[in-house]
C-alpha cells in the first residue's frame, strides 16, 4: 500500500500563492475587497469539512429594528476581576518571559468607540505552550502563567492588557508547520452582528508568509490590520514593551439604539 506523501511547507506555499493570485484576479475583475478570509481556504486543512457550501442567506437589518441580532448581550464589572487584564498577576509567582503591554481601541465601522463591552484573550506561554490538555507541543508549562485575560472597554472604547510575549509553536497542518506568535481575541460589539473572534500578531515575525491561517486573509492590507504596532509610548520603563492594536468590528449596528451601554 502506498503511503501518501507527507504535505510539506513547499506544497502549502504553492497553495497560498495560488489563493493569493486568484484573489488578485478577482479584484482586477472588479470584485470587492475581501476583508475577511473565505471559509473554504484549502491551505488550512481543517477548513475543508467545516465550511458551508451553500451561500449564506442575507438579512438586511435596516428593514427590521426588532431583530434579536441588533442587540448585544451585556457584560459588567461583576463579570471580571481586578487582575483579569494583567495576565502576569494571576498566580503567586512571576511568569517567565518578556512582559508586554497591549492596548488599543474597540471601534465600529463608523469609527465610533464601542464602550463597556467585553474583550477576552487567550494565548500560549513564552515557550509556545497552551495550558490545554490536548496541546501536544512538548514545550514546558509555566505554573505562573495560564494565559487568559478579560477586560471591559472604557468610555473611549479603550482596552489594556499586561501579559507575556507568547512563543511561536508547531502544529500539524503540514510537516514543519509553525504558527507565528499571536494573541487570540474574542470581542463583543453593540450588536450581536458585530461579534468577532480573531488573532493579533506581532510586527516583523518571519513566520508570516508560511502560516496558512494568517494567509487566509488574502487581502494584503486586511492582513496587515492583524499585526500590532510597537508603540514606545505604551512601553513601561524597566517593565514591559508596548504594542498598539485597534480592533474595528464589522457587521451592521442599529443606529437607532443607544451607542455603547
Amino acid at each position: 500500500m502506498n503511503t501518501p506523501r507527507a504535505l510539506t511547507q513547499h506544497d502549502i506555499d504553492a497553495e497560498i500563492a495560488a489563493e493569493h493570485a486568484a484573489y488578485e484576479k478577482r479584484l482586477a475583475g472588479g470584485a470587492p475587497v475581501e476583508h475577511h478570509p473565505r471559509r473554504d481556504y484549502a491551505p488550512y486543512r481543517s477548513s475543508a469539512l467545516r465550511h458551508p457550501k451553500r451561500p449564506l442567506v442575507a438579512i438586511d437589518v435596516s428593514r427590521d429594528p426588532e431583530l434579536v441580532e441588533l442587540a448585544s448581550p451585556a457584560f459588567g464589572e461583576r463579570d471580571i476581576t481586578e487582575t483579569d487584564h494583567d495576565l502576569t498577576r494571576q498566580h503567586t509567582g512571576e511568569p517567565i518571559g518578556e512582559r508586554i503591554t497591549v492596548s488599543g481601541r474597540l471601534l465600529d465601522r463608523a469609527g465610533r468607540p464601542v464602550r463597556g463591552q467585553l474583550i477576552e484573550i487567550w494565548q500560549a506561554n513564552a515557550a509556545g505552550r497552551y495550558a490545554h490538555q490536548r496541546e501536544q507541543h512538548d514545550a514546558p508549562l509555566d505554573p505562573n502563567f495560564t494565559g487568559v485575560g478579560r477586560t471591559l472597554t472604557d468610555a473611549e472604547g479603550r482596552y489594556h492588557f499586561t501579559t507575556i510575549q507568547p512563543g511561536p509553536y508547531p502544529w500539524r497542518n503540514h510537516v514543519g508547520a509553525w504558527r507565528p506568535a499571536h494573541l487570540h481575541f474574542s470581542v463583543f460589539g453593540a450588536a450581536f452582528t458585530q461579534r468577532l473572534v480573531t488573532q493579533m500578531y506581532f510586527p516583523n515575525d518571519p513566520l508570516f508568509p508560511y502560516d496558512p491561517i494568517l494567509q487566509s486573509v488574502t487581502d494584503d492590507a486586511a492582513r496587515q490590520r492583524l499585526v500590532a504596532a510597537y508603540d514606545h509610548s505604551l512601553s513601561v520603563p524597566e517593565f514591559s514593551l508596548g504594542y498598539h492594536w485597534d480592533i474595528v468590528l464589522d457587521g451592521p449596528a442599529a443606529t437607532w439604539l443607544e451607542e455603547g451601554r
Partner: protein, 203 residues
C-alpha cells in the same frame, strides 16, 4: 496598528480568524448554558449536535445563544459570567436575573445543550434565538437561528416569519427546532453537506 480608513468604506474592519483548538480554558465558563433563571416557568432546553461535511461530530465547537425573554424583551442585564473577586474563580449566574446570553462548548461527542427562557415574539418575527458558532477550522464564525415552535400558538408566526418565508421548505426546516416533549427541543447544526444548516449574513 492605527485604524485604516477608506473614503467610501469608513474604518476598515479587523479580519476574522478561527477560534482554534485551544480556547477551552478561556472561553467556556461554568453554567454557560444555564441561561434560564432557576425554576423559571417558561424554561426550555435546546440540545443537539454540531457536525461537519462528513457527518462527524465536532468535539471542539463553541455555540453562543442570544435571545429575548418570554415577552420578547432583550435583556440589558450583565452577570452571565459572574466572578469571585476573592479567589478570581467563577461564581456563575445568580439564578435570578436573565441575561439572555449563554456560551456552551460541544462535548467529546459533539453534543451541546442549553437551558434558556422560551423566546417571545418581536415584531413580525416568529420566536427565535440567535446562534453564533465557532470552531477550529472555521475561519469566520457562522450565524444561524433556532426557531422555537410552541404548537398552535406559534403556527401563524412561523408561517409568516420574514426569513423562513424566503427559504425553500427543505432548508427552512434546518432552522426550526424539533419538539421532543417536556419543553425540550432538538437543534442540530450541520456545517456542510446533506442537511446543511441555513447560515445568515447581516448587511
Amino acid at each position: 496598528m492605527t485604524q485604516a480608513t477608506d473614503a467610501a468604506e469608513g474604518v476598515l474592519p479587523t479580519p476574522s480568524h478561527t477560534v482554534g483548538p485551544f480556547y477551552g480554558y478561556a472561553l467556556p465558563f461554568p453554567g454557560g448554558g444555564d441561561i434560564a433563571p432557576v425554576g423559571h416557568p417558561d424554561a426550555i432546553t435546546v440540545q443537539g449536535y454540531v457536525r461537519d461535511g462528513a457527518g462527524a461530530p465536532l468535539p471542539d465547537a463553541v455555540v453562543e445563544l442570544w435571545g429575548p425573554d418570554r415577552d420578547g424583551t432583550l435583556p440589558r442585564v450583565d452577570g452571565s459570567m459572574r466572578r469571585d473577586p476573592a479567589t478570581g474563580g467563577h461564581l456563575g449566574r445568580n439564578g435570578v436575573e436573565f441575561t439572555g446570553w449563554g456560551r456552551v462548548q460541544t462535548d467529546a461527542n459533539g453534543h451541546w445543550y442549553a437551558r434558556t427562557v422560551r423566546p417571545g415574539t418581536r415584531g413580525r418575527n416568529a420566536p427565535y434565538l440567535s446562534v453564533c458558532v465557532f470552531a477550529r477550522g472555521l475561519l469566520v464564525h457562522l450565524f444561524t437561528r433556532v426557531y422555537v415552535p410552541d404548537g398552535a400558538a406559534t403556527a401563524h408566526a412561523l408561517a409568516s416569519d420574514p426569513l423562513l418565508a424566503r427559504l425553500d421548505p427543505a432548508r427552512r426546516d434546518t432552522l426550526v427546532a424539533r419538539e421532543q416533549g417536556d419543553g425540550t427541543y432538538r437543534f442540530d447544526i450541520r456545517l456542510q453537506g446533506e442537511g446543511e444548516t441555513v447560515f445568515l449574513e447581516f448587511t
